[in-house]
Symmetry: C2
Subunit: 239 residues, 2 copies
DNA sequence: CTTTTAATAGTCACCACGACTATAAAAAGG
DNA sequence: CCTTTTTATAGTCGTGGTGACTATTAAAAG
């Protein structure tokens, strides 16, 4: 490593960008804010902000998450560092290095637009195009990462409320992957994986929906899936 | 996102840290440099350096990789961004945010210690302890990531020369995972995965070693492994 | 009361994989 | 030269995970 005396150039600004994902009405949504000023004025962007001198990027990301969503307690939410985007010129004004995170929410409260934030709202993932800066890329990377981690971790429960049915859990996979899954096979697989889910004591069931009432489950103690729950191979697969 | 006018604090220094891994004599080695100055003078550290104003972190990492290893062409080497370490106080002198990368090398030339770098050398992974700063953590994260990616990507070929035998490829897995693998089963699995490896035309074989000459293979076109090559479950598994 | 929807139970066949045996072809050591 | 050792390679066998599928139950919707 070089000596620090060679540090003779303008410094960097360090920010965090958040891809906050949730499931609303059976489709994937992402939290976006509308930019009020140039550049990209009027365009949608991922929420984010500067890392403060006494913060780690993780701390800054959780603070921004609380500010943007208006949630009281974000300590239990799944926050995952994606990667860092550092291309020169990704912000036309100055040299900005941004640490990107993905956050997964079970329910979807309307954002309260806390503080001086511009308009904030949930947008369907498929409609979130033409974002400011390189946020299209960041959002796509977040989607890829989440989709991949569903295969070999228990991440799917992060999209679910504390108690959920296997149908809700299956919809997480179907929505993120964009595929259909066989109901009985999914059920067998999940229940056969120790620590993935555990039944709510008392045999509670969720009624009020269509069809037969479903048993309620909680997230188990496991964090990894052995063996993984592989997504079905795409149709047009390369030979 | 807040306005940039609120950017009123001391800036960050941005560096890259590299966990350069290779296989030497059947064991995993990591490239380390000896620190010449405080803090951590005399301790081993991961190579790295400052990101220049006109560089991305990836560009800086590749530049540092070339400088530290003395290799002419590092363009084909696998370089993977791990994550960014941004805890306040991880460098006692100033606020440093470091983007960590893992680099995988097939052969292991002795480092030439290019430029003003202190002493640099390969150290067995198991002996690389008590590193400077938070580099123990970064190195462990690199090992975890590489071990995990061996399961579901073709990353293992990045440790191999352009032409390699299935025995060499198997040793990559065994060395990184620290487990033994059944030779015939490994062979069947690799050859059954389309695009993982392809035989060298002409049926070239590697002689000179012990035992029966082995057929030579090249890395195939695939980048992901479907289905994955799962590592054998650990003995003391939690119930 | 019928239809619809979803949860749940169960069956069956295939195949990927672990465990294992056997054979071939080289070097090493007498 | 012959035996041992080492590694590559071929093949077998049984189990279990999984996809595809059918059947049943229990609720809401019409």
């Amino acid at each position: 490593m070089r000596g620090y005396d060679k540090y003779a150039h303008e410094p960097f600004a360090v920010t965090v960008d958040l891809a906050v994902l949730t499931l609303r009405a059976g489709s994937l949504h992402v939290l976006l804010v509308e930019r009020g000023q140039e550049p990209y004025a009027g365009r949608w962007a991922l929420p984010g902000g500067f890392v403060r001198p006494d913060e780690s990027a993780e701390t800054a990301a959780r603070r921004e998450l609380a500010e943007e969503t208006g949630l009281k307690d974000v300590s239990g939410l799944h926050l995952e560092q994606l990667r860092t985007y550092s291309e020169p010129g990704r912000d036309p004004r100055m040299r900005v290095v941004s640490v990107a995170f993905a956050a997964l929410l079970p329910d979807a409260p309307e954002p309260t637009g806390g503080g001086d934030a511009a308009r904030a709202r949930w947008l369907p993932y498929d409609d979130a195009k033409q974002l400011a800066f390189d946020h299209d890329r960041i959002l796509a990377d977040a989607h890829d990462r989440v989709g991949a981690k569903l295969e070999y971790t228990c991440l799917a429960t992060a999209f679910c409320p504390p108690e959920f049915t296997l149908g809700e859990l299956r919809q997480v996979y179907e929505t993120v992957w964009g595929t259909g899954l066989d109901r009985p096979n999914f059920r067998r697989k999940v229940l056969a994986t120790p620590g993935f889910v555990e039944p709510v004591p008392g045999g509670a069931r969720l009624t009020g929906g269509r069809g037969k009432p479903a048993a309620l489950y909680r997230a188990g103690a496991a964090t990894a899936l052995h063996p993984p729950l592989l997504r079905p191979p795409r149709e047009g697969r390369s030979a």
